[in-house]
């Protein structure tokens, strides 16, 4: 597990002896803070990301590390809770003295960390969060490698004409991600003269979506656009089948995890389309086949289930991005790394990682534009439909 | 407290009260009067409706029909605390004190209505708050002295001897500054000495002009203190009159036959 600050040191600190004792002596390693949900509702995803990050760290260290030093991940659990996410950032920056961080999975978690970045001027690579606000609120320490829904929707614009969609209903998870997707994809659809029907939401913890699905079943639309995490998606596909829904289902968001769907939803997953940013089923078709193969082999070697790869690759890419930036900066200091991130360029598992400026002038955040793929599940197999 | 004035002026009047619980008739058409300064006892076998009558008078129960009036004003739609504000205070059969609070604090709670401080006085600690508290403390000490448990004032009410708890219950009722007291089996469970002490207290209260309505099973005591007795059986009044008349009333004797053994049990 994560390397934790020595128990007695912190105990001493909490016993209010002196803060001076907490400082870590000697910089034998370069620390990278990882702020992820390891308990609570997002625990599964957070754990996947952390596992991916560990693969990256081990790979980098095996090749000699960065700037001649090994990198060390300081992994902390933000308990799927914004207050904790902010506290964790505070701890990573001030107690562990990390010069750069990766986090914090969910958008509200990331948003809670952002004021801390401003306060301490420490950069953070955002690996999963999709809220538009993250890169548009004028925080120059944010570098995002995951696509916000607007980017995904823009990529979908090119695919859309090749599919037969006349009218679509939306069924999205009731959080920033789902609502953001419904909005951005809605715009794209309308621009292409596709009618948008119902926009239904489902609670994050909901297990039974039959009511929403029944409502959608009764409309004259031909397509359902779905945005949610894989667990809920599994249930949703099963329930849609049980209700006898024959409409075309397209999911967005890139963490649908088709393998888990095939495994758990069975025949219900057949014929569904998924927009994803990483296609591990066809390593040769990914932008960086060598890295993809290495990552997948390592993932398998560590005994993780293949299905987790579609979430965890973000952690892998995030840490690799940070490592490249540190190398470029020449020193493990926040300011140098922030500047270096702007120059960082590497081939990630889902395309080129290069940060473009977004948000108010003078304090722009970085946003990388990954590839987006459309895949289809056919007879329990993932295929890249040639459209 | 009121001086003892005109003898036969009615203080409390119960007019054709009936109480039904679903199909069960607890009280059917009950009427009687308690005059100012009088000590009246309400007796009857278990289940006769005595405590129900108490609950109706003090606003804990709404009567199905009929009216209760105190000094001319109807009590029918009043909440219990509003009834208390009119000067009627009661004690309870079983738990009659605030157990985990000190004896002194018990009486301070009882003095609630006499406090003059408002919310703002309290929050801003204005002089009126301190003045009011000082007055209440003095009054609490007086009341404890009156019922004779002033030496116990720092103890927890729950740790008092049973008899003292009953006395504290009366002190609590007195703290509400009543012109009329309703006592629900005040001496049940007391030994002879305690009962004697209690009867003395009742005499004192009567001397202060407090009207008293008593529910009690202890016949010698009832006969000793009452001016008049009202006898209930199966929810209706079967006899009414001075102690001597009640003692010889054949219907009363019949009602009590066979009930002797169970007399002490609660109803």
């Amino acid at each position: 597990m994560a390397k934790h600050t020595d128990f007695f040191t912190t105990l001493a600190a909490t016993a209010l002896l002196s803060a001076g004792l907490v400082g870590q002596a000697g910089a034998q390693t370069i620390k990278i803070g990882v702020n992820e949900p390891l308990t609570g509702p997002f625990a599964a995803s957070g754990t996947y990301v952390v596992n991916g990050a560990k693969i990256a760290a081990d790979e980098i260290n095996a090749k000699g590390g960065v700037l001649g030093k090994k990198i060390e991940l300081i992994i902390e659990d933000n308990k799927s809770n914004p207050t904790e996410a902010a506290a964790v950032a505070e701890k990573l920056i001030t107690a562990d003295k990390v010069p750069v961080m990766m986090g914090a999975w969910g958008s509200s978690l990331t948003l809670a960390v952002m004021p801390k970045l401003m306060e301490y001027k420490v950069p953070m690579v955002v690996e999963t969060s999709s809220s538009g606000k993250i890169t548009t609120s004028g925080n120059p320490y944010i570098f995002r490698i995951s696509p916000p829904s607007a980017v995904e929707a823009a990529a979908f614009k090119n695919i859309l004409p090749k599919m037969s969609v006349k009218k679509a209903d939306f069924l999205v998870i009731n959080n920033d991600w789902g609502r953001g997707s419904a909005e951005d994809f809605g715009k794209v659809l309308k621009a292409d003269n596709v009618q948008v029907g119902l926009v239904e939401t489902m609670d994050q913890s909901a297990q039974d979506m039959s009511a929403q699905l029944s409502k959608i079943k009764a409309t004259d639309s031909d397509t359902i656009m779905v945005t949610t995490a894989v667990e809920q998606l599994t249930l949703l596909l099963k329930q849609a089948t049980a209700l006898g829904i024959k409409k075309q289902i397209i999911t967005t968001g890139g963490s649908q995890n088709p393998d888990q769907l095939i495994d758990q939803a069975g025949v219900a997953a057949n014929g569904t389309f998924h927009l994803t940013t990483f296609a591990p089923w066809y390593p040769d078709d990914t932008p960086n086949p060598a890295a993809t193969k290495y990552f997948l082999a390592e993932w398998k070697k560590r005994g993780f289930n293949f299905a987790g790869a579609t979430e965890s690759f973000r952690g892998y890419d995030g840490i690799r991005t940070i490592a490249v930036a540190i190398e470029k900066a020449g020193k493990a200091e926040p300011e140098a790394i922030t500047n270096a991130l702007w120059q960082t360029e590497l081939m990630g598992l889902n395309g080129k990682i290069k940060f473009e400026k977004q948000g108010p002038a003078g304090k722009e955040s970085g946003q990388s534009m990954p590839n987006v793929y459309l895949i289809k599940i056919d007879n329990a197999k993932v295929i890249l439909p040639k459209l | 407290m009121d001086a003892r004035s005109t003898q036969a002026q009615p203080a409390l009047s119960i007019e054709h009260i009936a109480v039904h619980f679903g199909g069960l008739v607890a009280i059917s058409d009950m009427s009687f009067v308690v005059n100012e300064g009088e000590v009246v006892s309400l007796i009857g076998p278990n289940g006769a409706g005595k405590t129900t009558a108490f609950n109706v008078i003090t606003g804990f129960l709404r009567p199905t029909q009929g009216e209760v009036r105190y000094r001319g004003s109807s009590l029918n739609n009043l909440k219990p605390h509003e009834v208390t504000s009119l000067g009627l205070a009661r004690t309870f059969q079983r738990t009659s004190v605030f157990q985990s609070v000190s004896v002194f604090e018990n009486v301070m709670i009882g003095l609630h209505r006499r406090g003059r401080s408002r919310l703002w006085d309290t929050l801003l600690a204005l002089p009126r708050e301190r003045e009011s508290e000082r007055e209440l403390r003095a009054r609490a000490a007086e009341i404890l002295a009156l019922v004779g448990i002033e030496r116990r004032s720092r103890e927890l009410a729950g740790s008092l001897a049973y008899g003292d708890q009953r006395l504290l219950g009366v002190a609590l009722a007195l703290a509400a500054d009543p012109s009329m007291l309703l006592l629900d089996e005040p001496v049940s469970g007391m030994n002879a000495t305690e009962t004697a002490r209690f009867m003395h207290l009742l005499d004192c209260l009567r001397g202060l002009g407090v009207t008293i309505l008593l529910v009690e099973h202890d016949m010698p005591m009832v006969m000793g203190v009452s001016d008049r007795i009202v006898v209930l059986n199966y929810g209706r009044i079967i006899a009414e009159g001075p102690p001597a008349a009640i003692q010889g009333n054949p219907e009363v004797i019949r009602a009590y036959l066979g009930q002797g053994a169970k007399k002490r049990a609660r109803d």
């Binding site: 609570g40 599964a44 996947y48 609670d203 009511a211 029944s214 089948t241 049980a242 209700l243 025949v267 | -």
Partner: protein, 283 residues
Amino acid sequence: MINMLILGSTYALLGIGLTLIFGIMRVVNFAHGELYAFGAYFVYFIAVLLGFNFFLSLLISIVAGGILGALIEVILLRPMRGADIDTTMLIMIGAMIVMQNTEQYIWGGVAKSVSTPFPEMPLVIGPFSVSWLRLFVFFAALALIAAAYFLINRTKLGKAMRATFQDRDTASLMGVNIQAIYMATFAIGSSLAAAAGALLGPVYVVSPQMGNIASLKAFAIVILGGLGSIGGATIGGFILAFAEEMGAGYVSSGYRDAMGFLLIIAVLLFKPTGLFARSERIG
């Protein structure tokens, strides 16, 4: 509509367990949802990991739920007998936190799914279609509800339980072993929750978070039916399912889960003892 009945039957199972525990023991059982999750995980464990027969696994997890319930009662609740309702409630909240995170520690946060011997294609009758598994769940839940009724109304244990519910002191005087009754009550309540979990686990997925929402729903059901009323809990389960479906269908799916709570507030304001409670004094 069919879906509503199916949902309602499992809600009723959850509710009956909780209401039994509250009615007889006066314990507000916040760990109820965790017993539900336990049932689901147990089925996953023996049916998927150990490869037992699906139906046998269901039975075993119901029994296991009962045993776990009995243990909780003996370890956590028995020493606190006589404590007020807040105290035991806090203990159960503590137990809830411990159980939920133990599940996550053992099984990880990734949701598990349980495969069943039922065909995946639904049964189609005219315009309606329903999955075989859900149909099975519905009848199994009904059978369990019937069993609970039989237990409470027709057996000696049930009689003692009812006596304890009416008046603990009197029951104790009549020779009812209160300790044993409490343990049995908690065990039965727990096994009903575990049964609901075991039945729904294969329908949905099994995850450490599944208990949270189940606890809240169980409370809603019990309040609707009146605390301590078994018949009430049964009907309450169906009412909640109905309200949710209606709420999602006609108001807005975002407010689906609010329906149950609004219903609770409304019921308590207009009929504080619940819709079907025997007249029980509050206080």
